[in-house]
Symmetry: C2
Subunit: 210 residues, 2 copies
DNA sequence: TTTTTTGTGTAGCGACCGCTAGAGAAAGTT
DNA sequence: AACTTTCTCTAGCGGTCGCTACACAAAAAA
């Protein structure tokens, strides 16, 4: 590991270039981002891109991983850190409203928008699986909440997770269509009104955020 | 229409061909649908397509009109026919759940999916305007309901419309990702729990809305 | 130094894109 | 019949796509 590379060293920073690629895919989607766009933004030639990242699809795969570990990490944090399922889901939606409209990077969720109407079936399927996996993660967290008595007995965790996922996807779409953070916050306020409250026995930590 | 055409008659039915084009754009989106795809599905040569429909963009425009008048017409009907804003919005979502998952045609909403990540700015803008116009229509109907006392005073019709729109867009996305009609019905059930109810005394014009 | 290894630039490959010229085919009109 | 009008077919235009062969440049190793 400590030994130096043998040949001519790379003339660009790999992480910086990857971030540039991420922005391009995030803004324009997989298909609509051309290798020509990528090389221009990354400031390198096509052969350098292929040598450093493989082909376009492989580069996109690496971009997905980077996205999941940075801009897309808020969901996992919310699920891990909040005490109740309700707090977790509300925080997911609220941070989505913030991140999706944040200045300085493309709006919306890369996973939702980067490959809709994609002619590369593998890419389309990868992202569809990712979206469904996210909803499954929501369901799992909600099921915990049901087991803990935060939610009424018989609450269908999968249905509730799909509902949260639908709102999440709607937030992403609307952030692309020009909605402001305040617009989306209002949507979240309304969405959380649908949250099932446990009958006044086991409920604890249920708090209405301002 | 009394006099017959002079030259060689068209060898295909224009409406049938247009419907075929609609299905292609609906399934694959604007960019990902090639003229080659279109001519194959429509059963005609490229010159016939261009003679009958103009270029690809013009054809897509005609497809949008046809969609709005057929598969996409349920929203307008719901808004026009239901007595209350709540009933109208609920019917919009419920019929969306049904139409988006209906067998025999592509899933989801053409307007939402056909041009996400589009490299033709005019097409992208056209569809974004359409989506925002739909939400504005919701807002207008909801405002009527507020005026009629169906909803609490001070209800923000724009916010509520955006919420319904977000759920609508989420339904569309999930129908593409494989959700069944039953899945989406459950989402609608939950979504409607967020609907603001007028306090018992204030429902003066709840049945006289129009 | 020379040799080896690896990255970079030019230049262009075959495939597909949206689109169309031009010749022939099929109808009405005279 | 001949002529006019319109559609259809073959073939291919210029442009862009993702990707790469090849020669050269720049580093470590010998």
């Amino acid at each position: 590991m400590a030994t130096k590379q043998r040949g001519r060293p790379r003339s660009f920073d790999r992480e910086t270039a990857l971030e540039k690629a991420l922005r391009q895919f995030w803004e324009h989607g997989y298909e609509a981002t051309t290798v020509s766009d990528l090389t221009r933004e990354m400031g390198i030639g096509a052969p350098s891109l292929y040598a450093a990242f493989g082909d376009k699809r492989t580069l996109f795969g690496e971009v997905l991983v980077r996205y999941a570990g940075s801009y897309g990490a808020f969901g996992g944090r919310a699920l891990a850190e909040e005490a109740t399922a309700r707090a977790a889901m509300e925080r997911v939606l609220r941070e989505a409203a913030a991140v999706f409209t944040e200045p300085g990077h493309p709006h919306g969720c890369l996973v939702i928008h980067a490959a809709t109407n994609c002619t590369t079936p593998e890419v389309e399927q990868t992202l569809r699986k990712q979206r469904n996996a996210n909803i499954a993660t929501f369901a799992s967290r909600i099921q915990q909440g049901v087991a803990a008595g935060e939610l009424p007995e018989g609450t269908d965790a999968a249905d509730l997770a799909r509902y949260v996922g639908a709102v999440f996807q709607g937030l992403s779409q609307q952030s692309r269509d020009g909605a402001t953070r305040e617009d989306l916050e209002a949507v979240v306020d309304l969405a959380m009104r649908a949250w099932p409250e446990a009958s006044a026995g086991a409920s604890r930590g249920a708090r209405a955020a301002g």
